[in-house]
Amino acid sequence: MDFFKRKFPILVVFVVGLLMIIAYYVPHKPFNQFEGGASMWYMIIRSFALVLAFTSLIRSHYLKIREGKLGWGYSLVMFLALIVTTVFGVLPYGKNNLFGTRSGTIYMWIFDYVNTPAAATVFSLLAFYIASAAYRAFRVRTIDATIMLIIAIIVMIGRVPWGEMFSEFMTSKISHHLVFIRLDRLTSFLLNYPTVAARRAVYIGIALATVSTSLRVILGVERTYMGSDE
């Protein structure tokens, strides 16, 4: 029994992982079919796991409602939204254009007028946060921070009309020899060389780490995620 509890899952990881790696290098049957089949299995298992999430969500909000905790009414709203969306989406498409997931149904209406604007709004909060983060963090505390600050300002000015006008003015009106402070050229130089070099190195580092972590997981060296023996 201990074998099945502890060793068998590690064996499954090993076999599945090895097969996935082989499938990448061998285009012949049956390995070439394995990749597509495994991704299908993966999607099915994940969909079942969603039920776990669903119960967790329901339980945490149900506890709030039952105990009348702070803000139980909001949990009620969440339940209502969840049930309405799910029911209208899962019911099969009929003639009345209400159920199902095609355009024009209630489900899509909810999606278009609740989900999409809410997501877009949360996303757009970034515009505000970027401003406050810049103000708070860009201080000339150290040499490194100063470099980052100056570069960020150069790039920001280099990308707007006034920055271009400034560059144009400096080169055409003041002196042609000031071409090296043209901010747009400086921006593209910074973007194309030092930035690319740093990004490339970070990518290579992450790739090496990914390969070694993946081998660690497949070989069973890494097994924290399996949890306790209990």
Binding site: K29, F54, L57, S132, A209, L215, R216, V221
Partner: protein
């Protein structure tokens, strides 16, 4: 002074002469009428490294190749049977040197035309569900038959046919040759890993340099305990199948151990069901190991929302309402990175972040107290656990980096020399090895 002037004139003359010699071949490019003859050396071959769907046609580069002259490919089911036109190809394109995934990097490929072609397929009828949800029948490929190819050349007026009729049927191959370089690197990494793990087990105190962000983990947990406030931990955008999430769970195991010892509260809002259950397991184990299994509260590790932005505002609300004293954002993050980090900063929490998503690193660096950049996230669990096997895997990464340094420097020197000898192939070896074919 005068003699030097003389020398300068000589040099100038030499330069002009050199320039003329260099430019000469380019000047002599006036078009000539070349007789159109059928292409020579017309052959078929099975496409290497594929599952058996296509064939390759190759023929020599001809002297009359130009944009006006076109090659026409025909195919048929028998040697003498009726042919159908497959494709018209401009004769100054479609060289084997452009298909490095099949032909490699040999310089001779520039003198060979190549074209990937479909054989004739026998079809079968299958049923499938259409986009409108209705069940319908459609045709699908069953198997390919022996296909015969012919080639013709045309200058827009007449077509000259080649007499050779090669044939072929595609077969599935057992190895992706174009990915051999990746396999070699994978095997090398495997060997490094095995070697360094055995080294680390013999000598557990191998040297690792300090990473400030990792040292701050314990400090943050301690501070939260002193203040009597909870700790927030987020494993990021992806489910447990992503390696960054697995690394994040490893760090969570360490944080949970400290939390269980200090008796503070750990909140793990989750975006994925499987990741949620794994986090529950890991935290429960930490509490059991600390000897206080009843202090574990599974309701603090819960699913809040499965979509990117609803998860974001869910975590934001926790930060604003529960006021955690330490926030951990470790894993892969997308656009929500700055939203989370700024909200956390506004509540005055100490924030430790780490991500491998290249676009979000700058935002975490700006908005958090400590940031694990890229691969440091993967290294963190080895640093925290000090497990010899994990330390060994870090050493294997370093070995890989060292090899890459050597490849960069030697490779650059070699290709620079190689630029002076364009016909020799030996100088390009390292670069060709490190090129995606």
């Amino acid at each position: 002074m005068k003699q030097y002037q003389h020398l300068y004139q000589h040099l100038l003359c030499a330069c002009v002469l050199c320039w003329v010699f260099i430019m000469m071949p380019g000047m002599g490019g006036c078009p000539k009428d070349i007789e159109i003859i059928p292409p020579t050396d017309f052959k078929t071959m099975d496409t290497p490294s594929d599952a058996g769907g296509t064939l390759l046609l190759t023929w020599s580069r001809m002297p009359y190749d130009s944009p006006e002259i076109k090659y026409i490919i025909y195919r048929s089911e028998s040697r003498d049977g009726p042919t159908t036109e497959v494709e018209r190809l401009a004769s100054d394109k479609n060289f084997a040197s452009q298909m490095t995934q099949y032909f490699g990097f040999s310089r001779k490929n520039r003198n060979t035309h190549a074209y990937k072609v479909q054989p004739i397929w026998k079809m079968k009828t299958v049923g499938r569900r259409g986009t409108d949800g209705m069940w319908q029948e459609s045709q699908e490929r069953d198997y390919s038959v022996m296909t015969y190819f012919r080639i013709g050349v045309t200058d827009g007026k007449a077509i000259v046919m080649s007499p050779t009729v090669p044939s072929g049927v595609p077969v599935a191959n057992w190895f992706r040759q174009d990915r051999a370089n990746g396999l070699i690197i994978l095997v090398a990494m495997f060997l490094f890993l095995i070697y360094y793990i055995s080294m680390a087990q013999r000598n557990p105190n191998m040297f690792l340099r300090k990473i400030p962000g990792i040292d701050a983990v314990d400090e943050a947990v301690g501070r939260a305990t002193e203040m009597g406030k909870p700790i927030l931990y987020s494993t990021g955008y992806y489910d447990i199948t992503e390696l960054s999430t697995i690394c994040s769970v490893n760090i969570l195991a360490h944080v949970a151990k400290k939390v269980a010892q200090y008796d503070s509260r750990l909140i793990v809002p989750s975006k994925w069901p499987v990741a949620m259950t794994v986090c529950q397991e890991v935290v429960r184990e930490a509490y059991i190991n600390a000897g206080r299994p009843d202090a574990f509260n599974p309701n603090d590790i819960y699913f809040i929302a499965g979509e990117q932005y609803s998860y974001t505002i869910g975590v934001d609300s926790i930060m604003v309402r529960e006021r955690p004293a330490a926030n951990f954002f470790l894993g892969t993050f997308a656009a929500e990175a700055l939203i989370l980090a700024e909200t956390g900063a506004s509540t005055g929490a100490i924030q430790i972040s780490g991500t491998d998503s290249i676009y979000q690193i700058p935002f975490f660096v700006v908005a958090c107290d400590y940031c694990l950049i890229g691969e440091e996230l993967y290294a963190a669990s080895a640093y925290l656990a000090r497990n010899p096997r994990l330390v060994g895997s870090l050493k294997s990464q370093d070995a890989g980096k060292l090899l890459l340094f050597l490849a960069f420097i030697i490779g650059t020197i070699m290709v620079t020399l190689g630029a002076f000898y364009p016909e020799s192939e030996i100088f390009q070896v390292i670069r060709n090895f490190l090129t995606v074919r």
